[in-house]
Symmetry: C2
Subunit: 301 residues, 2 copies
């Protein structure tokens, strides 16, 4: 295993927010190129009702396709038991369940309070799911565009409940509100409650702090990060602003620090080109693709 595990969420978080639909065959080619570049986890889609999010209608097909790729953990999102059943049926290795720590965001998004949503995930855990990992992802953990501040005790409470029946728990800065001091404090607080069940960090770069927050999380022991190639999808709450932390910049940061991600940067930039050509005109972000690697740059591994 690499020292740093990066989960590419572009096919889910990116495409879900993109203006254009990417054709299924193009998604497959992109996912294959990501796996070729060394990604060991890819969130390929979301088992939500296709009428709600047409961009995710082909998730079953993508899970089946991705399962055939070597050395890849295939991740899908599910918001409820029905979605979880579809994910199991398709053969996802890991399913991530978003639970918003913001009451307002949760009510607006899934018409349930955060604690009701936790119970929905508990029902999923009680459903037979042999060999399928469950991740509880505490979203809006660092703040919410509706509610503003999200009390840290709410995040700790939800994370602790989820840790009771999920295999792992992640903290997500869904709207790009986190800062490095808060990241360290909150990851430490949650870890003191649930220990090593706390795994992933999901940051957005909306206010430019994405990499600084990833660094802060690394410094308090986080080794698993979500990100999106080219920051695809932008930020639905701030038109024109960037969205997910950018995979290639995140990989570059860690590799330049001497930390092995298992990812080949040149191949990753090829995968980026493939993605860009599949949805021309969609805004993409990222520094490395523009500036190139430093002269004499060596990857960590």
């Amino acid at each position: 295993m690499p020292e740093i595990l990066i989960c590419e969420v572009g096919p889910r978080d990116g495409l879900q927010n993109a203006k254009q639909l990417m054709p299924t065959e193009a998604k497959k080619a992109w996912i294959r190129s990501l796996a070729d570049a060394g990604l060991r986890e890819i969130e390929v889609g979301s088992f939500v009702p296709p009428k709600l999010i047409p961009a995710m209608a082909d998730t079953h097909e993508l899970v089946v396709f991705s399962r055939a790729l070597p050395n890849l953990k295939v991740v899908a999102l599910a918001p409820n038991l029905k979605g979880f059943q579809r994910a199991i049926e398709a053969g996802a290795h890991k399913v991530t369940f978003p639970v918003s720590a913001s009451r307002e965001h949760s009510l607006s998004n899934v018409r349930m309070t955060p604690d009701q949503m936790v119970e929905e995930v508990r029902k999923c855990a009680e459903h037979p799911h042999p060999g399928v990992e469950m991740e509880g992802a505490v979203s809006t953990a660092f703040g919410c565009t509706m509610q503003g501040e999200v009390p840290e005790e709410d995040v700790v409470r939800i994370a602790s409940k989820l840790a009771g029946f999920c295999d792992s728990v992640a903290l997500a800065d869904t709207v790009g509100y986190a800062n490095p001091a808060q990241v360290k404090r909150l990851f430490n607080k949650v870890r003191s409650e649930i220990g090593d069940k706390l795994e992933g960090a999901h940051f957005h770069d909306t206010r430019g702090l994405g990499l600084a927050n990833a660094l802060a999380a690394y410094e308090v022991g986080v080794r698993a990060f979500d990100s999106s190639l080219g920051g695809l999808g932008g930020c639905p709450f701030a038109p024109g602003a960037s969205g997910n932390v950018i995979t290639e910049d995140l990989v570059f940061m860690f590799e330049s620090m001497g930390l092995d991600t298992g990812i080949d940067l040149d191949k990753l930039l090829e995968a980026r080109k493939l993605m860009v050509s599949a949805i021309p005109g969609e805004p993409v972000y990222g520094h490395l693709a523009m500036a190139g690697a430093p002269k004499g740059f060596h990857a960590a591994a």
Copy 2:
């Protein structure tokens, strides 16, 4: 004094690399708005031959103007004794002397080796300069587009020599090659040689790591940072790529961490608008200006 001292270098490092000339009166209005926003140090220009860099031809006038603003330390760059004499004559409070740690960059830029350039700065130190602070800035300290890797012992040697006759020493990542691990290592190494004479950090965001590097530097005790509003000027070595760390994003990072910069973010964004209107069409960068501050955001002070 604020906990974090930010020196705005846009009028120098930004405008020096901008495609357009900013009229002197517009520069004055911009500098005044920066001081109004709470900036306590501004690098207003460079005492280089006007024929070489026409954008810096009005530096004398800007130093005189800026000295009249309250609570402002007026900084200017000088590459040699002649420039230093002009800076003293104009009334600069602080003069910064760039010394490239990269032999190739130094020879190409000033036709002197790094050690010859150190001797040039020593001559300046021996010139009477009552009340004028001297800063030795080790440029390309983290790598060089020409030479590639810059040995850390070269940086330590040059910084140590400069500390012998300068009031303070800064380390500059002139071309955006630094990574957070290297930042911590090199600042620690240099500090172990010259102690508190090591003050400033000057980062570029060319590869997206600007804020992460600033965070890393903060974590090893650095409290003084250069930055440029809107990342003005971009990167001369990578067309289209961003340049200096972006002042407003840097201020936002520290303030959101609860660290007082003494800078009013709203006023800073007003100063940004003023700058943009003075050189329309010039590329500017930055996340905060696009996304806005988080709901319920409170500055540190």
